[in-house]
């Protein structure tokens, strides 16, 4: 039986290794430390906010919120990063169209809905949709895939405010670079 002793000893020690709930005190998380967790804080893309725009850190799945200077109506840019292809191009285009109460389009309609923009991180797909009705809502969205993460930059708001902010928004997209 002596030969079994190492096994018994190892098995008993292994039993002490069981997972358990721990309670501990941690210092408040600072921003640089948070930026290091690769999946929890998406990194890889940086941008420069246009002059006069304000930028606020995001929450939840939103990475940041940018607000153009006050114009005729409201508009804001949201930056969202999610792993994978997030359902693919068609699903996202129809999600945006759904937000404007527009009917969904099919795969064959995508080339017409899409235009391309060059950024320092490569080609970026751009979409521009305007809703219907008296107070029209407009949405300009850029979609970019970087290292397995899909980045969405969406300018959305009142049609006139979006039209005023669009040139600066496109400059922001063209200036996207690696972090």
């Amino acid at each position: 039986m002596k030969v079994l002793l190492p096994f018994v000893l190892l098995a008993s020690l292994a039993a002490c290794q069981k997972d358990r709930i721990e309670v501990r005190e941690e210092p408040k998380e600072d921003a640089p430390a948070a930026a290091l967790a690769p999946a929890s804080r998406p990194s890889g893309v940086k941008w420069t906010a246009p002059a006069g725009w304000t930028e606020a850190p995001g929450n939840g799945m939103r990475v940041a919120t940018l607000t153009p200077p006050p114009a005729a109506g409201k508009a804001e840019v949201t930056v969202i990063a999610l792993p994978g292809d997030v359902g693919g191009e068609l699903a996202n285009v129809n999600r945006w169209r759904g937000q404007l109460a527009l009917p969904p389009v099919g795969e064959a309609d995508l080339p017409a809905a899409r235009s391309e923009l060059r950024s320092k991180l490569g080609a970026l797909n751009l979409y521009d949709f305007t809703g219907t009705g008296t107070n029209k809502t407009r949405l300009v969205a850029g979609m970019l895939s970087v290292s397995g993460t899909t980045w969405f930059f969406k300018l959305m708001g009142d049609e006139k405010a979006v039209a005023a902010a669009r040139p600066a928004f496109l400059k922001l997209l063209e200036g996207l670079h690696a972090s």
């Binding site: 190892l10 005190e25 210092p27 998406p42 939840g60 359902g87």
Partner: protein, 384 residues
Amino acid sequence: MRPNDVPLRRVTDFLSSMKLTLACLGLLMILVLACTLLQVPLGTHIAVERTIRSFLVWYTPDWSPVRLPVFPGGGLVGGVLLLNLLFAQFLKLERSRRKAGLWLAHLGLALLFIGEFSTALFQVESQMPVEVGQTKNYSEDTRQMELAVVDVTDPGKDTVTSIPESFLRPGAVIETPSLPFKLAVKRWYDNSDLGMRKPTDPPSEATAGVGPNLSISEAPIVTSDDAQNAAAALIEPVSGRDGLGTYWVSNALGAPQGFVREGRTWRLVLRPRRYYLPFSVTLKEFKHDIYPGTDIPKNFSSLVRLNDPSAGEDRDALIYMNHPLRYGGKTFYQASFGQNDQLSVFQVVRNPGWLIPYLSCILVALGLLLHFGTKLAVSLRKAA
């Protein structure tokens, strides 16, 4: 010999036989080959876990809902080999000074097996990414998650209740004295597809946080070494009969979500499991040298400051390839880098049995030297 000893004798003969040794060595060779080939589709970690660090190799055919054992795993073969070695040593090897070298060499081999069992059971691997100038006192295991329930009310510090992912099984209700509420686990996905919820999608199961805007579905786990699963859990904190909302948490989501309960603010975060250290490491400098005129890497090195006030330790250490820092039972290896050479990633390994293989090699070498030295001396004496 008494007749009732015969079956026992057969067993001991079998356990100490050379045939068993050869069979086990053959099986180990097949396992090593299979593990090497499986690393392509499964990645190193899973291939090793399924072949070398398991007692049986399991396979689920397409036509079967049940997984079937198809081959003995490294744990079983190694265990039998260790028994074989010990039985052969104690039953067959002559107890004499003449054979002292062989005794020592066999003891060394047995230690090698025990060392591998110890590594399989107790080794913990994690990663520590540190930016230049940053100080860290924890490492993370990206293959395992933890649900951190954080009381952020105190402006100076956070109180974290860390719940390992093994507790997050659907239907589980987690109750712990540090939390004034229970946590009901509604769903758990090892990997998931996250997307924005479309108007046509069914209503979200989440009622609070970012979950109501998301569509989350289970996805096959990713296995390659450079990919990470997006784990997701649907959690409902419950106080008495009151539900405090149902939240989707995922390591792929950004900032934490939470709620206020009786004047205290709580955050729910699913994140890679953390291992806190009783000391801190500050990255002072990272060097990425290349051969002149090429992009071929020559050397990666990280200059760190090790600070352990409880042990009065405050010194610099240089970590580079094949030159890890060993401190406090942990070994820090230079593993990776990034962010234009502003980020260094260390592999942090805790292995209480790390010395065993070295000891084993010394014993085997000494044993063989002694054995062949004795033989040589006898031959020389005879020749003289």
